[in-house]
């Protein structure tokens, strides 16, 4: 009797053990399944994100607004571009948590490790949508507080910093016109990317968008004034030896259109060919010849 009891106990034990293992297997399979489904849902939420910005915007407004407001509580602080970037990311994080978090709960049994993992992947996937999201949240909050917010790049204290305000970001939306603050911001950004410290030694120089306008103004003056004015005009490339640069880039703006002139100075050895002037115009709208005449003086 005792032995049979022991036997049954051990049998029960082994059964129990087996069941546990089964369960565990099942769980693992479950987890795997849910992971798969989670991966499967990724593409959908991403679509939803895009749509949600325009179509579903109203339904989700409440929760979204909340998360954005919490992440955009930085309006009063000095907004440097760095903080803007990181906030943008955190905003996207908030956003994905808000929308996708609910999705997860409905489809997948909550298991923390899985969820945590999923969140990470979601954020990575969301990187593309970041701009859209920031745009969207600006629309929502601008009326109250963002109107006067300004971003200084590279920093507020830099004497050559570029200032853009939140309205300027609107111009990055599809089918809208680019504004000069954005252009100048990007020029500055390119310059700093290429040469963080030694501006003088880099082999190209980009003028800002107002240079060409000024050049035209200068050229329209009388001959007698030109000499003295040219001295003043040279301030525009103060501290930069233009003729030692390999390339000089001049953005051109005319008639609601942007184009670019690149002046290439060949190496001093083969001086036979003078500087080459290239004019890049996406719409072929500007009269290249006029531009060339202006630039070659």
């Amino acid at each position: 009797m005792a032995s049979s009891e022991i036997h049954s106990q051990s049998r029960f034990g082994s059964l129990f053990k087996k069941k546990m293992e089964d369960n565990a297997d099942h769980k693992v399979a479950n987890a795997f399944d849910s992971e798969l489904s989670a991966l499967g849902t990724h593409s959908r939420p991403k679509l939803k994100l895009n749509e949600g910005l325009s179509l579903n915007g109203r339904q989700k407004n409440g929760s979204r607004k909340r998360s954005f407001q919490s992440s955009f509580g930085w309006k009063d602080r000095g907004i440097s571009s760095d903080s803007f970037y990181s906030k943008g990311q955190s905003a996207s994080k908030h956003f994905s948590n808000g929308v996708l978090g609910r999705k997860e709960e409905s489809r997948v049994p909550p298991s923390y490790g899985l969820r945590h993992r999923k969140r990470e992947t979601v954020v990575v996937l969301d990187d593309d949508d970041e701009v859209l999201e920031t745009l969207d949240c600006i629309d929502e909050t601008r009326d109250e507080c963002m109107k006067d917010a300004k971003i200084y790049y590279p920093s507020r204290d830099d004497p050559e910093c570029v200032e853009i305000c939140f309205q300027d970001i609107d111009c990055l939306a599809p089918e809208s016109f680019l504004t000069s603050p954005i252009m100048n911001f990007y020029i500055r950004y390119l310059e700093l990317q290429a040469s963080p410290s030694q501006k003088a030694t880099c082999d190209y120089h980009i003028f800002n968008t107002f240079f060409y306008k000024k050049l035209q103004q200068e050229l329209s003056r009388k001959e007698s004034e030109k000499e003295s004015l040219f001295v003043k005009f040279r301030r525009w490339w103060k501290g930069v030896n233009l003729f030692e640069k390999a390339y000089v880039l001049i953005p051109i703006h005319e008639d609601l259109h942007w184009s670019l002139v690149i002046i290439c100075f060949p190496e001093k050895k083969d001086n036979r060919s003078g500087p080459i002037v290239l004019h890049l115009d996406s719409l072929k709208l500007h009269y290249s010849r006029v531009v060339l005449e202006d630039i070659t003086r």
């Binding site: 004497p159 050559e160 200032e163 016109f177 000069s180 107002f210 306008k213 103060k238 609601l256 719409l283």
Partner: protein, 91 residues
């Protein structure tokens, strides 16, 4: 120097390009070195009409002037010229 340096006045000229009216518009200002430049910008826009401060890029020494800066901060001196160029939009 018996005069307080912060109360020194300088004379600057703002040169604009308002092509639709023909020619350039020059406006002369007398401004304290410690006065933030937005006062000058606002005054210029009032004089020109038609435009608001955001429409202009005020450039001095190849740098964009920011409204809260003072002439002293950007080392503006008597007789200096500020360019007021319209912000550009385009595709």
């Amino acid at each position: 120097m018996d005069q307080e340096p912060t109360h020194k006045f300088i004379h600057v000229k703002v040169v604009g390009q308002v092509s639709s009216l023909g020619g350039e518009l020059e406006v002369f200002f007398r401004i304290k070195e410690s006065t933030p430049l937005w006062k000058l910008m606002a005054a210029y826009c009032r004089r020109i009409g038609m435009y608001e401060v955001q429409d202009f890029a005020f450039i001095f020494d190849q740098r964009l002037l920011r409204p809260h800066q003072t002439p002293k901060q950007v080392h503006m001196e008597d007789g200096d010229v500020i360019d007021a160029l319209l912000n550009q939009t385009g595709s």
